[in-house]
């Protein structure tokens, strides 16, 4: 699998070649060429901004269809905490969990359950590694991808603990194998996800060699089916929940950080805000911070592009729902079995995330300087309107594209116009 795999794809039929996505992309990964948007995969961090902005719905996320459930003999659903924020007046998550089973899953395993374990391990890790303060959260795959291409200095700050979904998947698989005696390939661990970045994280994981998630479903696909089963489930609620306030709170921005039980944290959401925080962190502008939680989506995971509810409404719903939950459930006696399962799994990253200098202009410093000075020369020629008509988001980006050899000077309509004027002037002189 290509290490720059991204789950965002283009529907060429629907793409009108407008400039909405190129303008919105935070890493300037998209260009319009020959009237269609194209994504430079190695620049893309899977944040989903282009999917959000495209007025023609030409940007699509890759994920699995509901029918993927039929591919396995035994399936376990892993609902993301953000799923709970999609429903009105939900006061018991067991209704959702029971409905998932009625919908066809053989078992459910809450991602929020694993999140509580991650919170506990993070507390210990943060306490032990003062030299890495502030430690940066790694649950959002887009954030890791952003840091590895743009913020090499911050790689050492990354929290090297598996994301809750990966830990949940590992435990769920182990439990399912013990319970059923089936071989691993017969078991389907299926994540119900708020975002397409998780698809990329499953296919090309960072920090771990392989994810135990077999398939990823979109919350927006599961939601309408689940609603029907929830009505049925109300009368036969099974006690399936394994998490409390801390775990479910992870669905909202600030949830992970507050699970660390410290006040010295910062939690940012929305990709542009996140980039500003990372810029400031890189310049060492923060003091006395122990932890930084970053979410690519506004409001946190509830703001993922595969959700149905308004992110801020979903956030309130989760907040309301967890109010009367126990703080955490990972230490309750009924979860002893789970504790044992966790002990046999290594929750830490097994490999370092390396810097990928994809934005580099040259192979060495000398070449880099030469090419950068060429870029500066081109910029002086362009009008600085950042109109996007050339297919690049800014004049600067066009200049870089030309120097990279993937665009031409006359792609700039301002320069083309000048040339046409010159030709027509010459013509009129002939008359």
């Amino acid at each position: 699998m290509d290490k720059f795999f991204t789950s965002v794809q283009l529907d060429e039929e629907l793409c009108k070649g407008c400039i909405n996505c190129i303008k919105r992309c935070p890493t300037q990964a998209i260009r319009v060429r020959n009237g269609k948007a194209c994504i430079t995969k190695k620049f893309c961090i899977d944040c989903g901004e282009c999917i959000r902005i495209c007025p023609h719905h030409a940007k699509k996320a890759t994920y699995d269809p509901l029918s993927v459930m039929n591919d396995y003999e035994y399936t376990v659903a892993l609902p993301a905490p953000s799923l709970y924020g999609q429903f009105n007046n939900l006061d018991d998550v067991n209704i959702v969990l029971t409905a998932l089973k009625r919908m066809g899953f053989d078992d459910v395993y809450e991602v929020s359950g694993a999140a509580e374990l991650v919170s506990e391990m993070s507390r210990k890790y943060v306490e032990k590694h003062k030299e890495k303060w502030p430690i940066v959260s790694t649950a959002c795959p887009s954030i890791i991808r952003l840091i590895r291409v743009r913020f090499p200095n911050l790689l050492d700050h990354l929290l090297p603990i598996q994301a809750p979904v990966d830990l949940a998947a590992a435990v769920a698989r182990q439990q399912a194998m013990e319970k059923t005696g089936l071989s691993t390939d017969k078991i389907g661990i299926i994540f119900i996800s708020p975002c397409p970045a998780k698809v990329s994280a499953v296919k090309t994981p960072l920090g771990i060699d392989k994810s135990n998630v077999d398939a990823v479903l979109a919350i927006k696909d599961v939601y309408p089916v689940l609603l029907g089963f929830m009505k049925e489930a109300v009368d036969h609620i099974e006690d399936l929940s394994i998490s409390g306030k801390i775990g479910v709170g992870w669905g909202n921005c600030g949830g992970e950080a507050s699970g660390l039980l410290t006040d010295n944290y910062l939690a940012a959401d929305g990709i542009e805000n996140v980039i500003r925080v990372l810029e400031d962190l890189e310049d060492e502008k923060f003091s006395n911070l122990t932890f930084i939680e970053l979410n690519a989506c506004s409001a946190g995971c509830v703001g993922g592009v595969l959700t149905v509810e308004n992110p801020y409404v979903a956030k309130v719903k989760i907040k309301r729902m967890i109010k009367y939950m126990p703080v955490a459930m990972n230490h309750l006696p009924k979860k002893e079995e789970l504790q044992k399962a966790y002990l046999s799994i290594n929750p830490f990253w097994t490999s370092r995330v390396e810097y990928e200098p994809v934005f580099k202009l040259g192979d060495n410093l000398k070449e880099g300087i030469e090419k950068m000075s060429l870029v500066e020369d081109y910029i002086k020629k362009f009008p600085g309107l950042d109109c996007g008509a050339c297919g690049a988001p800014t004049c600067q980006a066009l200049a870089e594209d030309i120097v990279r050899g993937v665009a031409k000077e006359k792609d700039c309509i301002y320069i083309l116009k000048q040339k046409i004027h010159k030709i027509s002037d010459e013509f009129s002189e002939l008359e």
């Binding site: 890189e282 300087i369 090419k371």
Partner: protein
């Protein structure tokens, strides 16, 4: 050396010059110049830890120009050997350079300190993060700080 690159006649150069104007008392814009230099150094392929040195040294200088001086100009020359930063302000000048270099010494007024700036670490940090630093100052005229960070 002259080369034809995509139809543009370009004099190949081994260095690049960047100029920035720093406006006075505009905290929201302070850091723009160092941020731009940082981005360009990454694109040029400079070692990440070296970029941090340049970014912090320059940011501190930029903030100083906003706090103490009426803004000024920053001139940055990047060559394969070094990043040379020249920060020239139109401020009051520095009375006692030795004193100003002491960690924690600050002449920043209270309203600036209330914003979290003026902790007296500006010049000391600039010295710490640069490989060479030189200060020329004239009372009533302004100060020019020249810093170098070596790349090889």
């Amino acid at each position: 050396m002259k080369m034809d690159f995509m139809g543009v006649h370009h004099i190949m150069t081994d260095r690049i010059t960047l100029n920035y104007e720093v406006s006075a008392e505009d905290f929201t814009r302070a850091g723009e110049a160092s941020s731009d230099v940082k981005k360009k150094l990454k694109q040029m392929g400079v070692e990440p830890s070296t970029i941090t040195k340049v970014a912090i040294a320059m940011y501190e200088g930029e903030i100083n120009m906003v706090i103490h001086a009426q803004g000024g100009q920053i001139n940055v020359v990047i060559s394969p050997d070094e990043v040379l930063m020249k920060l020239a302000d139109r401020g009051p000048g520095i009375n006692d350079i030795e004193k100003a270099m002491e960690a924690g010494f600050s002449t920043a007024p209270d309203n600036i300190r209330a914003l979290g700036f003026g902790a007296g670490m500006g010049l000391p940090n600039m010295k710490k993060y640069s490989d060479e630093m030189q200060i020329e100052t004239e009372i009533g005229k302004g100060t020019t700080v020249t810093m170098k960070v070596f790349l090889s």
